[in-house]
C-alpha cells in the first residue's frame, strides 16, 4: 500500500516511510502548472495515471475521485530525500508561477472591474449634466427647468438658440461653442458606458447565466462585487444576499438605532422597487432566496435552470394574493 504525496518538488509514492517511486520537477513553471492541475481537479490526470500505473494499491494524500484519501504529511521524508537541492530558491520561483496561474483563472474579477467602471462613470456623467444644466440655464432658464437631461443635451447639440422670450443672459458664439464641446464630452461618455455595459452583459451571461436570468446583468454584477467574488456569493446565505449593499443600515440597526433594512442592492430589481411598500420585505426575501440558489448553480455548474424563474413567479403570485404567510 503506497501513499501518493505531492508538493512543489515532485510527486512521490511512499511505502513504510520510504520513497519507492518519485518524479522530481526540474522546472518551477512546469511544477506550478502540475500542482495546480492535480490539486484543483478530482479527476485523475495523465501524469498521475502514468505515475500510479505500476503501483498496486494507492492512497492519495489529496482528494481524487475513485481512490482512497487520507490526509498525511510526508514532508520530512521528502525533505531528507531532496538534500543538497537549493530549496528556498526553487520555492520562490515556484511561488511566482503558482501565483500567476492562480490569479488568471477568475473571470468574475473582470466583471467586478467593469461594474466599478460603469458605476463611477454614471456618477461622473450625472455631475457633468448638473454642470451643463447650470451653465445653460444662465442663457435659457425656462427650458432647463422643465426638460430632462437628454432633451437639453440634444437641444444644445442641434440648436442651442432659444425659441421664446427669456429672462436669461445672451450668449455669444464663444459660449455656445463651450456648451457644445461640453455636451459632446458627455455624449461620448454615455456611449462609452454603453459599450462597457454590453461587454459586462456578455461576461455575466457566460459566468452566471442563472443570476442573469433572474436579476439582469447589472444587479448580478453588483451582487458579485458586493460579495467579493462569485465563489463568495455562492457560499452566502440568502439573508446575507438580501442585505448586500445595506451594510450601513444593518450596522446602524445592530447598534440599536433605526429599523432593520429590508433590502440592499436587490432594491434595484423591478419586482422590489415597483412593489407596494408593505410587500417589499416579503418580496425581497423571496427574491434573495432565489438569487442565492442561482448563484450556487452558477458557481458550481454554470448550467441554466429555467425552473428558478418559474418558482419566483409563482411565489410572487402567492404574495400578491395574500397566500402563504411566511
Amino acid at each position: 500500500m503506497a501513499y501518493i504525496f505531492l508538493n512543489a518538488f515532485g510527486i512521490f509514492a511512499i511505502e513504510d516511510g520510504k520513497i519507492i517511486k518519485h518524479k522530481i520537477f526540474d522546472d518551477p513553471e512546469e511544477a506550478a502548472r502540475i500542482v495546480i492541475e492535480c490539486k484543483e481537479s478530482e479527476e485523475l490526470n495523465d501524469l498521475e495515471k502514468e505515475f500510479i500505473k505500476d503501483l498496486k494499491e494507492v492512497i492519495f494524500t489529496y482528494p481524487k475521485k475513485g481512490f482512497k484519501f487520507e490526509e498525511k504529511d510526508f514532508s520530512e521524508i521528502v525533505l531528507n530525500f531532496l538534500k543538497g537541492k537549493d530549496i528556498n530558491e526553487f520555492l520562490i520561483k515556484f511561488s511566482d508561477f503558482y501565483n500567476i496561474f492562480k490569479s488568471r483563472k477568475e473571470k468574475d474579477r473582470i466583471a467586478i472591474g467593469l461594474i466599478t467602471l460603469i458605476e463611477e462613470n454614471e456618477k461622473i456623467i450625472n455631475s457633468m449634466f448638473e454642470r451643463l444644466r447650470n451653465f445653460y440655464s444662465i442663457y435659457y432658464p425656462e427650458f432647463v427647468i422643465k426638460e430632462s437631461n437628454e432633451k437639453i443635451l440634444n437641444k444644445i447639440l442641434e440648436n442651442p438658440k432659444r425659441e421664446e422670450k427669456s429672462l436669461g443672459i445672451d450668449f455669444s458664439e464663444e459660449e455656445f461653442r463651450i456648451c457644445k464641446e461640453y455636451a459632446n464630452l458627455i455624449k461620448e461618455l454615455i456611449e462609452l458606458n454603453k459599450k462597457f455595459e454590453e461587454r459586462l452583459e456578455e461576461i455575466i451571461k457566460e459566468i452566471a447565466p442563472n443570476l442573469y436570468e433572474i436579476a439582469g446583468y447589472k444587479l448580478a454584477a453588483k451582487l458579485i462585487k458586493g460579495a467579493g467574488s462569485l465563489e463568495k456569493l455562492a457560499k452566502m446565505a440568502s439573508s446575507a444576499i438580501q442585505l448586500l449593499g445595506a451594510e450601513k443600515a444593518l450596522f446602524r440597526f445592530l447598534r440599536g438605532k433605526g429599523k432593520p433594512p429590508k433590502h440592499g442592492y436587490i432594491f434595484l430589481h423591478p419586482l422590489v422597487n415597483q412593489a407596494p411598500k408593505k410587500l417589499r420585505g416579503k418580496i425581497s426575501r423571496a427574491l434573495a432566496s432565489q438569487l442565492s440558489k442561482a448563484a450556487k448553480i452558477d458557481y458550481f455548474s454554470r448550467r441554466l435552470e429555467p425552473s428558478l424563474k418559474k418558482q419566483l413567479e409563482e411565489r410572487m403570485k402567492e404574495i400578491y394574493e395574500g397566500k402563504g404567510n411566511i
Binding site: 505531492l6 508538493n7 520530512e76 511566482d96
Partner: protein
C-alpha cells in the same frame, strides 16, 4: 547614539524600534534608514506594523530568532514581513495572502530578500498550500482580521507548527465583534486558544498605535 539590542536583530535607538537592514540602502515602504558604525538600521513604524507597536508597549517575549521558518497568514504587501525578514536572516517566511493586489508589491520584496515565499491562497484552506510548506515552521504569525481568525490560526498552527513552536496572533477586535468591548473579545480568543491546547504566554494591547488591537503570544 546609544544602540541597544533588545531582541535578536531588534534594536532600540533613542526610544524607537529598529531592525538591522538585510538589504542595505533599500527602504521598503518609505521608512527612515539610520547608519551607525557601518551598520544600517531600518525604522520599524509602530503605527504601521503591529509587532513594533507591541514591542513599544512592553512586549517581553518576542519569539523571533535568526534562522527561523515562519508561516505568515495575511502577509499583505509585506510591511511587517520585511522586518521579520530582517530578523530571521537566513530563515524563511511563507506568506499567505488571499488578494493578489498587495501580492504584486510583495513580489518585488521577495525578489530582493530571498527569504520570503509569497503564496496566493486562502488561509482558511490549509490544504491548498500544504505543498509549499515542506518543513514544519517555528512560528505562525496570524494577522487576517476575520471573525473566525482564532480558528484559522489554530488550524494552521496545528497543521504546520513544530512541537513547542510559537504563535503570534494579531487581533482586531472590531472585526471579530463590533458590539463587544475589545477586552472581552481578547479574553474570549484566549479562552478558545487555551481550550484547544495552546499555552498563552503574553498579551499586549496596541493602543494608541493601533486602535482596538492586541497581540497574543502563544506556545504549542
Amino acid at each position: 547614539m546609544k544602540v541597544k539590542e533588545i531582541f535578536e536583530n531588534v534594536y532600540k535607538i533613542e526610544g524607537n524600534i529598529y531592525t538591522k537592514n538585510l538589504v542595505p540602502g533599500v527602504s521598503v515602504y518609505g521608512e527612515k534608514l539610520l547608519k551607525i558604525d557601518d551598520v544600517e538600521y531600518r525604522f520599524w513604524d509602530p503605527y504601521r506594523s503591529k509587532p513594533s507597536a507591541a514591542i513599544k508597549n512592553g512586549l517581553k517575549n518576542f519569539p523571533l530568532k535568526r534562522g527561523m521558518s515562519i508561516l505568515y497568514l495575511g502577509i499583505a504587501s509585506g510591511t511587517t514581513a520585511s522586518h521579520f525578514s530582517d530578523i530571521i536572516e537566513n530563515g524563511i517566511i511563507y506568506g499567505i495572502e488571499i488578494s493578489d493586489v498587495p501580492l504584486v508589491k510583495l513580489k518585488n520584496l521577495a525578489s530582493q530578500r530571498k527569504n520570503i515565499v509569497p503564496i496566493l491562497a486562502d488561509a482558511r484552506k490549509p490544504n491548498t498550500y500544504s505543498h509549499f510548506i515542506i518543513n514544519k515552521v517555528d512560528l505562525v504569525y496570524c494577522d487576517v482580521a476575520q471573525p473566525d481568525e482564532a480558528r484559522i490560526f489554530l488550524e494552521n498552527i496545528n497543521k504546520f507548527g513544530k512541537e513547542n513552536c510559537y504563535g503570534m496572533i494579531a487581533i482586531k477586535s472590531r472585526s471579530i465583534d463590533v458590539i463587544k468591548k475589545p477586552k472581552e473579545v481578547y479574553k474570549e480568543v484566549e479562552k478558545y486558544l487555551k481550550e484547544n491546547g495552546l499555552k498563552i504566554i503574553e498579551r499586549v494591547e496596541l493602543d494608541p498605535y493601533q486602535k482596538d488591537h492586541a497581540i497574543i503570544v502563544v506556545k504549542k
